[in-house]
Symmetry: C2
Subunit: 345 residues, 2 copies
């Protein structure tokens, strides 16, 4: 029998060599037709492109990255993917990078420091062109690795602290202060703080610090804190609000770590018969898409995520092209809605 078990449709993937052979040129010429088309005769270029099209050639970027100087990968390390917290940053960042041929490699630490080290190591093993990472507070070992990697590191979202290289974000302490100032201006006096404040969520802690400090400066009684380690959700907000009001019925304003938590707080207050904003004011942080659609519409702080994503992409490209590191503060906005609009103030 002559018939053998031949290629069962699993043809070997075409390489530059396949193309070269078919066209009758050297491998390097094919490579050049891709990287620097105008160094190849138009007619030859056409034939090469036709062959690529025909064989469905897809370049092997692992090989390209190993051989060349760049790897075209940008590592993106976030602390959470739930709820729109960072999704639109990633969205904008990804789209902007794509235009420059950079691919996003994603990692999610879930606010876990050990995980963060593991993930950063893992991402570094792909020899990325740059890394974008949430926050400026990282375990020492992570900082050491990132610094030693000698690639551009863009820290996003938070700018308050020791920046490794370049940062794009804002000062969360000021956000907390602004929340307090707003509540005070609206006539609230007994402020409480509710939310998920995980050990590694330094941003949440900073906002809380800012809130407390501003309240203290204004001579208000100490801010009551009722927090949990688990992730934020309406259910969490609801539970924490019930517990808080039961123990401290004198509270007249609640600042929430996130809109999602505030949604649950609003529901709890409604159940308890507390009127918002007249009995209790509620302010939050994040500008979730539903913030203006709950009852009453939620006063919150809107960080400009898309701008952060876009500026991060620009910073990455700039740094790759040799620009100096720098820190960019991105504006945020306190969106005053009905949940803090006390009528009898």
């Amino acid at each position: 029998m002559e018939t053998e078990i031949t290629d069962r449709g699993a043809r070997p993937v075409p390489t530059l060599a396949s193309i070269a052979e078919r066209v009758g040129v050297s491998v390097n010429t094919v490579s050049r037709a891709l990287r620097a088309p105008n160094t190849v005769r138009p007619e030859l270029r056409r034939r090469i492109n036709a062959a690529m099209e025909e064989l469905n050639y897809v370049p092997n970027r692992l090989a390209g990255g190993l051989s060349g100087t760049r790897s075209d990968i940008v590592g993106v390390v976030v602390t959470s993917l739930y709820y729109s917290e960072f999704a639109s940053i990633i969205d904008t960042l990804q789209s902007a990078l794509l235009e420059s041929g950079l691919q996003v490699m994603l990692a999610n630490t879930r606010y876990n420091a050990d995980q963060e080290l593991k993930l950063v190591r893992s991402i570094l093993s792909w020899r990325p062109a740059a890394i974008a990472i949430i926050g400026v507070d990282h375990p020492p070992k992570v900082v050491e690795l990132l610094k030693a990697s000698a690639i551009p590191i863009i820290e996003m979202w938070d700018t308050d602290g020791e920046v490794i290289d370049t940062a794009v974000g804002f000062d969360h302490t000021r956000v907390g202060a602004a929340q307090a100032d707003h509540l005070i201006a609206r006539g609230y006096r007994r402020i409480a703080f509710i939310g998920s404040v995980r050990e590694n969520d330094r941003r949440a802690q900073k906002r809380l610090n800012g809130l407390e400090a501003a309240a203290a400066v204004a001579g208000l009684p100490q801010v009551l804190k009722h927090t949990a380690q688990q992730g934020g959700s309406p259910a969490l907000g609801e539970r924490l609000a019930f517990e808080l009001i039961e123990g401290h019925p004198e509270i007249d304003a609640i600042a929430c770590n996130s809109d999602v938590v505030a949604f649950g707080v609003l529901r709890a207050l409604k159940t308890l018969g507390k009127r918002v904003p007249d009995d209790i004011g509620v302010i939050a942080f994040g500008d979730n898409e539903a913030a203006g659609c709950v009852t009453p519409p939620l006063t919150t702080v809107r960080p400009d995520r898309e701008r952060i994503g876009k500026l991060t992409a620009e910073a990455i490209l700039a740094r790759i092209n040799g620009a100096e590191p720098c820190t960019t503060i991105v504006e945020w906005e306190l969106v005053a809605r009905e949940s803090t609009h006390k009528k009898n103030a």
Copy 2:
């Protein structure tokens, strides 16, 4: 002068060869100490590990992928990153894959077919171990590329159509039918559909089809459709609802393509003085985190995103290890809340 411009801190990144030289063994032995530790003498292994620790060695997976058979990359192609639509699928998927040492490479098509082709090509150029992609309806060229790649392809979210390899999701037509059935059971008769239905969002179209078909079967008047091509948002829902009610005040139920759109619809109806659920019932799809927190709480369909993410990860691993392709239907749930709870029915 003897001093030259020496390495200014930019030490070359350590390679297996650096470690090998320092320990005094061959490169391959170091490689083995990593990949198959028990083929190396414990004492030697210890010295190798120590050297790696000391030099802060990070393996080069580009080289590993090029040389070896696997590349440890899983391409994940989604159609959107905004609002929690797919975020928690990615979250779960990423975490599950990480445990097996697989890294997620992310791409977002933004419901653009040209973009989808470009992105799939781009991802394939990293020679991924598998690809997970949203939907079963792709441009022919994309299907051709994916099939030719001979790697496991997991299509997520939708299962209704021609599956390339393996799918994990549900039938969106049935979701639409269930929405109609629910409205009918609750006593609504004149149903309208509102939402963002982009040309490439076949899932939205399927849900709409299911809704229309079920309404027709029940002998209801034809479903009024008022849609837009732009992305869904509360603002869009609000505008569409205003326009719809103005032209068709007889409408007594609105099915929305997504919760986010429904939030805007609820706001518009409130402005118009229409009572929900008594004058008009509202049902949506997605189970956004705020769905239970708006007024009235929104009846919606809750797909089990985390389960889809988890099952997708499992399917990827199974397929990599040689299991047969298969399609898994993931249950969803119609969460009946107040927005469709007509009192006088």
